[in-house]
């Protein structure tokens, strides 16, 4: 019998699951580990969320642990804050990136500031799950990359996974954190599959996804896979690119990023959000300040245009593409090499 069980366990271990299922698994395991973890938001109950991320949680944990809320994001956020003040660890879902904006005042004025305001006596261990980004053919308000607003708000942690395993481990870490975490889920990766590793990094550490020597592509969330594709394509043209997956925008892992850039001497930052005032601007500035004497070329960015998110039929022009990344890599003053 032992053999059978081992085989079954082996099969489970080797079974690929989707990123959405990994988030679901993380929620389940956190709810099992700590009965103060509650999940609520719009349609997260019986329906299991519009992306089915909370599938089965109400059935398995009951309505006291996973429940639908009225359709009001500020109310969801404020309610979560009040629950956290009473010792709960709420995980709330903002159904779509742009639907989180009504909650922004609660996030910026209270969630981010309560610990500081009360000299640490009232921490708010709240996780705000935000499905974000484009590439799914969504209508307006369903494809924003809103990470920059949160990253520019001191007091929040902002993390975003790009792999199935990171989706699990980062969400577990986020729920265990005593600080509020904005958990940005790249919705176009929800259906990407991989074998789940349940042990992983702490919040605040970047990962080198591909080793290379010529230039560093710095990406996070939905653009990591694009960066990896671009690196593969560049290899055919003789460029050996390194790819850094930030995983955590706040806290920012200067060490891993700068170590990579000092090695390669070139850096390209890639994200879907508009470039002007975007997270990439901060990253480019940080890299320039810290790695100036190692740089062979200006730090470049490949980002969305400075436009409102386009309609589905036009979004391919807006999103960072492999070709656009390759063009920018080609512009990095290779004549000096």
């Amino acid at each position: 019998m032992t053999t059978t069980l081992d085989t079954a366990a082996q099969r489970v271990r080797n079974t690929e699951i989707s990123l959405a299922q990994a988030v679901n698994r993380a929620l389940r395991d956190a709810m099992t580990a700590d009965d103060k973890v509650v999940v609520f938001g719009e349609d997260v109950g019986v329906l299991g969320g519009v992306f089915r991320v909370t599938d089965g949680l109400t059935r398995d944990f009951g309505e006291q642990r996973c429940f639908d809320s009225p359709l009001a994001e500020a109310g969801i956020m404020g309610t979560a804050i009040g629950m956290a003040m009473y010792g709960f660890r709420p995980v709330v879902e903002m159904q779509f990136d742009a639907f989180a904006y009504p909650a922004f005042e609660q996030i910026a004025s209270h969630l981010a500031k309560m610990r500081n305001r009360t000299r640490g006596t009232l921490p708010l261990p709240v996780v705000v799950r935000v499905p974000y980004g484009g590439g799914i053919g969504g209508v307006e308000h369903h494809s924003d990359s809103s990470e920059g607003y949160f990253a520019a708000t001191p007091g929040l942690h902002v993390v975003t996974p790009a792999t199935v395993s990171d989706a699990y481990t980062l969400l577990r870490a986020a729920i265990e954190s005593d600080d509020p975490v904005i958990f940005m889920e790249p919705k176009r990766l929800y259906w990407s599959k991989d074998v789940l590793e349940t042990s992983g990094p702490a919040i605040g550490t970047a990962a080198v996804r591909r080793q290379g020597t010529d230039a560093t592509l710095i990406a996070y969330g939905p653009t990591v896979s694009t960066a990896l594709e671009a690196a593969d394509a560049a290899a055919a043209e003789g460029f050996d690119l390194e790819v850094v997956d930030l995983r955590s925008i706040v806290p920012f892992d200067d060490e891993t990023v700068c170590e990579s850039v000092r090695k390669t001497g070139r850096a390209v930052v890639i994200h879907e959000a508009a470039g002007f005032g975007g997270t990439g601007a901060e990253i480019a500035a940080r890299v320039s300040e810290r790695c100036f004497h190692w740089l062979e070329a200006p730090v470049r960015r490949v980002t969305g245009f400075d436009i409102p998110y386009p309609p589905p039929k036009l979004e391919r022009h807006h999103l960072p593409s492999v070709d656009r990344i390759l063009d920018v890599v080609a512009s990095l003053q290779w004549e000096d090499r």
Partner: protein, 409 residues
């Protein structure tokens, strides 16, 4: 009598048998002349001498606190103070109806309530003094930090009440806001969430007629703010906010309903902001003196005193004791708020996160270096001035601060 109610789906009804009435005249037990006017029985707990005198004493002390704080703004000891003078029936009556285990969500105008709950007056004034954003431990006093963005604390009360319900505790959450706050979306969302979840929350609106300069008529077209309760499917009560007996009673009833599992209540307390919005405001630009005088004649403390005197309860000894307590509080405020508050620049970085990020650690070190250089320059300037002896320096203040904001604390 005004109690707005919707049919209770649970069939439990309201314990006191109120019928839904849409009469916007406020519930009152003690009229503006200090005479009993409401349907209270002579043996009601609210009319027991001990309770009446405790309430009155808290109002005397609370008013003294308010006057002292106002004076200290003029002396530059506080950055700003939004007075609640004339609103003591709300500030104090509501607090005395709560248990110590209940949570309170105050606004910036509610220092008197906080002091009534037992919070140290200096800690209650920390925000307005400017040495930190909140001076007391919210967990210890079950009192959230004073909220500045209007009505944004109301959803917190709904959430805390929901959490208490899920935890199986009999805790009630009471949130204050003003008439202006009822125009905010968060007010609406909070009431709706609390009603949907039947959370044990009480939303207490101090309708003091003004949001800075904007009068109630420009804030709402509704005949009464309490009517909004009907739309959320919760109990609503409109009460004379200058009648402390009525305020204390409706809050106690609302808390009792909440504890019994009958959900939230919206209370509109009709009162008046006697002072300007803050010391920085000029109320003569938007209201007539005659209006203020009219409300002065409805003063909540004077009204209660008239009644207590008529009952022979305000003996010389009782009055002397209360005045002494009030003056002791004022003396203490003058002494302690007269000193420069101690602030620590390292607090800037300590509490942003449970563990400071590497970036914050760098910034803490950079600030420390700036301050060390400043101190050194001052010391040198002092030495050059030939002062020699007696020159004090802060050199060494940064010792041990290498990357650790906790160091040397």
């Amino acid at each position: 009598m005004t109690v707005l109610a919707t049919p209770d789906k649970t069939g439990s009804g309201f314990p006191l048998g109120f019928d839904p009435i849409l009469d916007p005249s406020p519930l009152q037990y003690l009229d503006e002349h200090g005479a009993l006017s409401g349907p209270l029985r002579d043996d009601a707990a609210e009319l027991a001498p001990d309770q009446l005198l405790a309430t009155w004493r808290a109002m005397v002390v609370g008013r003294r606190f308010d006057l002292q704080a106002t004076t200290m703004v003029r002396q530059g000891r506080l950055a700003v103070y939004p007075s609640s003078y004339g609103q003591e029936a709300c500030e104090i009556g509501a607090m005395l109806a709560l248990r110590a285990t209940d949570w309170f969500f105050p606004t910036y105008r509610d220092c008197v309530s906080m002091v009534t709950r037992g919070i140290d007056p200096v800690e209650a004034l920390t925000l307005l003094r400017g040495d930190w954003h909140c001076g007391y431990d919210p967990q210890r006093w079950r009192t959230a930090p004073q909220c500045t963005p209007l009505a944004t604390q109301a959803p917190h009360a709904a959430g805390l009440a929901l959490a208490a319900k899920l935890a199986g505790d009999d805790t009630v959450a009471l949130a204050f806001c003003g008439d202006g706050g009822t125009s905010e979306g968060d007010f609406h969302e909070a009431l709706n969430f609390a009603a949907v979840y039947q959370a044990p929350a009480v939303f207490f609106v101090q309708n003091n007629q003004y949001a800075i300069s904007v009068p109630l008529a420009k804030q709402t077209h509704a005949a009464a703010l309490a009517h909004k309760a009907v739309g959320y499917g919760m109990a609503g009560v409109r009460v004379d906010g200058n009648d402390v007996i009525a305020v204390r009673r409706v809050v106690a009833e609302a808390a009792e309903r909440a504890r019994a599992g009958h959900g939230p209540t919206l209370i509109e307390a009709v009162t008046y902001r006697m002072q300007a919005h803050t010391n920085a405001d000029d109320a003569t630009r938007y209201r007539e003196d005659s209006e203020v005088e009219y409300w002065r004649s409805r003063d909540p403390l004077a009204r209660l005193e008239t009644y207590l005197k008529a009952r022979g309860l305000l003996t010389e000894a009782v009055v002397a004791e209360a005045n002494q307590a009030a003056e002791a509080l004022a003396d203490d405020m003058r002494a302690r708020l007269g000193e420069e508050p101690e602030v620590d620049h390292r607090d800037l970085f300590r509490h942003v996160y449970a563990q400071p990020t590497p970036q914050l650690l760098e910034q803490a070190v950079a600030l420390q270096a700036e301050l060390d250089a400043e101190a050194e320059a001052e010391a040198e300037a002092g030495a050059e001035a030939g002062a020699g002896a007696g020159a004090t320096t802060n050199a060494g203040a940064g010792a041990g601060a290498e990357g650790d904001p906790e160091a040397g604390r």
